[in-house]
C-alpha cells in the first residue's frame, strides 16, 4: 500500500485545480428545463475542448484513459472547486451508456454514439425501473416482440431522469416471450424521438421535474440496437450498474467531504458545543467515506458487492449532512432555496439505485453469507 503522490501526481492535481478554478461555472445551473440541458452541455463541451471529458474512457474512443488514482485526484479538485454536479443530463451518457457501449457495443454503435455523448450532442436517459419493478428489477414486464429485424416495444418505464431532454435511452425489456426473472431480457438503444413514445414528467418532492414516466406503444426499434446480445440484457445491465458504482459514485462521494467542510465553515459552531460535536462526527465519517472511496477503486479483489458498503455509507451520511444544513437555517428553512432543494433531493439517496434496505440485504447475504431471503 502506498498513498504518497508522485511529483507527476502533484503536477496533475495542480493542473486540474488551475483549469477548474479558471473554467468551472460560478453559478448553480437550473435543475430542469431547457436551461438545464444548455448549461450541462455547455460545461461538457468546455471540458471536452480542454481535454477534460471522458476521463475514464479509453483514448481510442476519445477519452483520456486516466488511471483510477488520477480520477480520484480530479474529482477531489472538482469538488473543492464547486464545479457542477456530475448528476446532470449528461450523466447517463457519460457514466452509464457510454461505458456500457465501450465494453459491449458493436463497432457501429460505438462509432455513432460515443463521439456524440462525449461532446454533449446526445443526451441519454435510463429505462430500467417500472411501476411494478423497483427494488425487484428482474420482475420487469415491458416487452419487445421480435418481428424480422425489428423489436416492437410495449409497456412503461418510470423514474427515468432527464427523459424529456433525452435523445436516447438505455432500455431494458423482456424480449423472450414467457421468460422469467433475469432470463430473456435485452438491453437496447431506444431513440426517444421514435413514434409511439410518450414522456410524462413527474415532479419530485423538491418541486423539480427532472424525472419522468415513459410509455411505449408499438415502438419499433431495430434489432441492431441490442447491446450485449439478444436475451442477454441482465448481464449487460449489471455491467452498466457496475460503472455507476465506480467512477460516477466516486465523484459524489468525494464531493460530500467538501460539503461537510462548507457546512462547518458556515455553521461557526462554538468549540465544545453540541453542534461542534455533531459536526465532528460528520467530519470523521466524511473522512472515513473518503478512505472507503479510495480503497474501493485502488484495491484489487473483494466481491462485486463491496460497492454496497460504500454506496450505503454515502447515502446515509449525505442525508444527515443535508438535514443538518437545513436545520441550521432555522425559520428560513421554510423558504425555497438551494439548501432546502438539496435537503429534499437527498431523500432519494436511500431509495434510488437500490434502497437502503436492499443494500443491507446484499451486504448481509452476499458479503457476510447470511441465509438468503425466502422468495415466493
Amino acid at each position: 500500500m502506498d498513498l504518497t503522490p508522485s511529483p507527476d501526481d502533484h503536477r496533475f492535481r495542480q493542473r486540474a485545480r488551475d483549469w477548474l478554478g479558471a473554467n468551472a461555472p460560478r453559478h448553480r445551473a437550473p435543475a430542469g428545463g431547457a436551461g438545464a440541458r444548455q448549461a450541462a452541455t455547455a460545461w461538457l463541451a468546455r471540458c471536452h475542448a480542454a481535454g477534460w471529458s471522458g476521463l475514464a474512457w479509453p483514448r481510442d474512443w476519445g477519452g483520456q484513459g486516466l488511471s483510477a488514482d488520477r480520477l480520484l485526484i480530479w474529482y477531489e479538485e472538482y469538488a473543492r472547486t464547486g464545479a457542477p454536479s456530475p448528476l446532470d443530463c449528461t450523466f447517463v451518457g457519460l457514466h452509464h451508456a457510454g461505458p456500457t457501449l465501450i465494453a459491449l457495443g458493436s463497432e457501429a454503435q460505438k462509432a455513432f454514439h460515443l463521439p456524440r455523448i462525449l461532446q454533449g450532442q446526445s443526451i441519454w436517459c435510463q429505462g430500467f425501473s417500472e411501476p411494478g419493478a423497483g427494488s425487484d428489477l428482474a420482475s420487469l414486464r415491458t416487452s419487445g416482440r421480435v418481428e424480422g429485424d425489428i423489436l416492437v416495444v410495449n409497456g412503461q418505464k418510470i423514474w427515468s431522469s432527464y427523459a424529456e431532454d433525452a435523445d436516447y435511452q438505455e432500455l431494458l425489456i423482456r424480449t423472450e416471450p414467457g421468460s422469467a426473472r433475469h432470463r430473456g431480457l435485452s438491453w437496447v438503444i431506444c431513440d426517444m424521438r421514435a413514434p409511439g413514445i410518450t414522456v410524462r414528467p413527474i415532479a419530485n418532492m423538491a418541486g423539480e421535474t427532472h424525472f419522468a414516466e415513459v410509455f411505449y406503444d408499438d415502438v419499433r426499434i431495430p434489432l441492431s440496437n441490442v447491446v450485449g446480445g439478444l436475451h442477454n440484457g441482465w448481464a449487460t445491465a449489471m455491467t452498466t450498474l457496475g460503472f455507476e458504482r465506480k467512477t460516477a459514485a466516486m465523484a459524489l462521494q468525494l464531493d460530500l467531504s467538501v460539503r461537510v467542510e462548507r457546512l462547518i465553515a458556515e455553521a461557526g459552531a462554538a468549540p465544545g458545543s453540541a453542534l461542534a460535536e455533531t459536526l465532528a462526527d460528520l467530519r470523521a465519517e466524511a473522512a472515513g467515506l473518503r478512505a472507503m472511496t479510495w480503497r474501493s477503486v485502488l484495491r484489487e479483489g473483494g466481491t462485486p458487492f463491496d460497492g454496497s458498503l460504500v454506496r450505503l455509507t454515502f447515502a446515509e451520511l449525505a442525508q444527515r449532512v443535508h438535514r443538518l444544513a437545513a436545520e441550521l437555517l432555522g425559520p428560513e428553512s421554510l423558504l425555497q432555496g438551494p439548501v432546502m432543494t438539496d435537503y429534499f433531493e437527498s431523500y432519494s439517496e436511500t431509495i434510488a439505485g437500490g434502497t437502503a434496505e436492499i443494500q443491507r440485504n446484499i451486504i448481509a447475504e452476499r458479503i457476510l453469507g447470511l441465509p438468503r431471503e425466502g422468495r415466493a
Binding site: 500500500m1 502506498d2 498513498l3 504518497t4 503522490p5 501526481d9 485545480r17 478554478g21 488514482d69 477531489e76 479538485e77 469538488a79 473543492r80 472547486t81 464547486g82 468525494l254 467531504s257 467538501v258 461537510v260 467542510e261 462548507r262 465553515a265 459552531a269 468549540p271 461542534a276 459536526l279 465532528a280 462526527d281 467530519r283 470523521a284 465519517e285 473522512a287 472515513g288 467515506l289 473518503r290 478512505a291 472507503m292 479510495w294 480503497r295 485502488l298 484495491r299 484489487e300 463491496d306 458498503l309 460504500v310 455509507t313 434496505e357 443494500q359 443491507r360 440485504n361 451486504i363 448481509a364 447475504e365 457476510l368 453469507g369 447470511l370 441465509p371 438468503r372 431471503e373 425466502g374
Partner: protein, 313 residues
C-alpha cells in the same frame, strides 16, 4: 498509488492469524490466568518499531494490532509495542531490547485521580498511560488487583508516578484504534456465526431481516474504520501534512464503532448474550477498556485535507 497489501504484508498477517487462532482462543480469557505473551514475543511483535527507518512499517504494525484486537489480547501488547519504540527513540537500546524480548513487561493504563488503572494483572513495573489528553510512560509500582466492572477483564490499581515523561500520541492512537477495529470485527464475526446457526421459528435467525440489517450495520462500521486505519497509518508513515487529521478522525470513529458493534453482538445473541457464558460481553468490556486508553482527539481544531477552494478572482 495503490491500496493492495503486499505479498510480504499478507504473509505476516496470515502467520499472525494462525498463531492467534492456535494460541489465543477467546476461551483463554475464562481461565483467570494472566495473559502469556511469550508466543507474540517470539513472533517479534514488540520489536517491529525497532527495525530502523526502513524496516519500520506502521501500517503492517497497525494491521497486526487489528488482529490482536480481534482476539481480545491484553492492552499490554499496545504498551509494549509503543514503549519499545519510545525507548529506542530515546537512545536506550538496552531498554528497548528488554521490552521487545518480553523480559520487561509493560502495562497500558489510564490515570484517575492520584492513581493509575492498569489493564492487566499485577506485576508490571513499567507502563504507558493516558493522563487526560496526554500520553505518559515510565516506571510504576506493581500495584494490586482492582475489581473490574461486571467481573470483567483484569485491572490493577497503583499510585500514579510523578514526573513521568510525555510521549508523542500519534502511534499510540493508531495502534489503540487498530485494536478497537479488531474488537468491532470480533463482534461482527461472532454475531454472523451465531445468526447462521441459532434457529427460531424454524429457521436460522440470520434469515430475518432485522438480524441481517444489524449485521450489515456492523459490517458498514468495520469497513469504514478499516479504510480509515489504512489512510491514517499511511499518512503517519509518510509524514504527510494530513496525518494528524487522519489519526484524529480514526480516533473518533474507532471507539464508537467498536462499542456499537459490541452492543449489537449482545443483542443478536439474545438471552445467552446477556449471560456471562457467551463471549459477547467480553468484547464489550474490551471496547470500553480500549476506549479509555485513547486520547481525546480534537478533530475540529485541525485542517481537513478536502477544503473548499476560495475562488476570489
Amino acid at each position: 498509488m495503490n491500496l493492495d497489501l503486499s505479498d510480504e504484508q499478507s504473509q505476516i498477517l496470515d502467520a499472525a492469524e494462525a498463531l492467534l487462532q492456535a494460541e489465543y482462543p477467546l476461551s483463554r480469557l475464562r481461565s483467570g490466568a494472566a495473559e502469556d505473551l511469550t508466543r507474540l514475543v517470539e513472533f517479534g511483535l514488540f520489536g517491529l518499531g525497532l527495525a530502523g527507518e526502513d524496516g519500520s512499517d506502521l501500517l503492517t504494525e497497525a494491521l497486526l494490532h487489528a488482529r490482536l484486537g480481534r482476539h481480545l489480547l491484553t492492552p499490554s501488547t499496545l504498551a509494549a509495542a509503543v514503549a519499545a519504540r519510545l525507548a529506542a527513540q530515546a537512545g536506550d537500546d538496552a531498554l528497548a531490547s528488554r521490552i521487545a524480548d518480553g523480559a520487561l513487561p509493560v502495562s497500558a493504563g489510564v490515570a484517575t485521580g492520584g492513581d493509575l488503572l492498569l489493564c492487566d494483572a499485577p506485576g508490571a513495573t513499567m507502563a504507558v498511560w493516558r493522563e487526560g489528553d496526554t500520553l505518559r510512560w515510565g516506571p510504576c509500582d506493581s500495584g494490586a488487583a482492582a475489581p473490574p466492572a461486571g467481573g470483567g477483564l483484569p485491572l490493577t490499581r497503583t499510585p500514579r508516578p510523578a514526573g513521568a515523561a510525555t510521549a508523542p500520541s500519534a502511534p499510540w492512537q493508531l495502534l489503540v484504534a487498530a485494536q478497537l477495529l479488531g474488537t468491532a470485527e470480533a463482534a461482527l464475526d461472532l454475531s454472523v456465526a451465531y445468526a447462521r446457526t441459532r434457529e427460531q421459528f424454524g429457521r436460522p435467525i440470520g434469515a430475518f431481516q432485522a438480524i441481517k440489517h444489524h449485521c450489515a450495520d456492523m459490517a458498514l462500521g468495520v469497513a469504514m474504520v478499516s479504510a480509515q486505519l489504512d489512510f491514517a497509518a499511511l499518512a503517519l508513515e509518510a509524514g504527510q501534512e494530513d496525518a494528524d487529521f487522519q489519526i484524529a478522525a480514526l480516533a473518533r470513529l474507532a471507539p464508537r464503532i467498536a462499542l456499537r458493534n459490541a452492543r449489537m453482538a449482545i443483542q443478536i445473541h439474545g438471552g445467552i448474550g446477556f449471560s456471562d457464558e457467551a463471549d459477547a460481553h467480553l468484547i464489550l468490556k474490551q471496547a470500553h477498556r480500549l476506549g479509555q486508553l485513547l486520547l481525546p482527539a480534537d478533530l475540529m481544531a485541525l485542517d481537513a485535507p478536502l477544503t473548499p477552494l476560495n475562488r476570489s478572482s
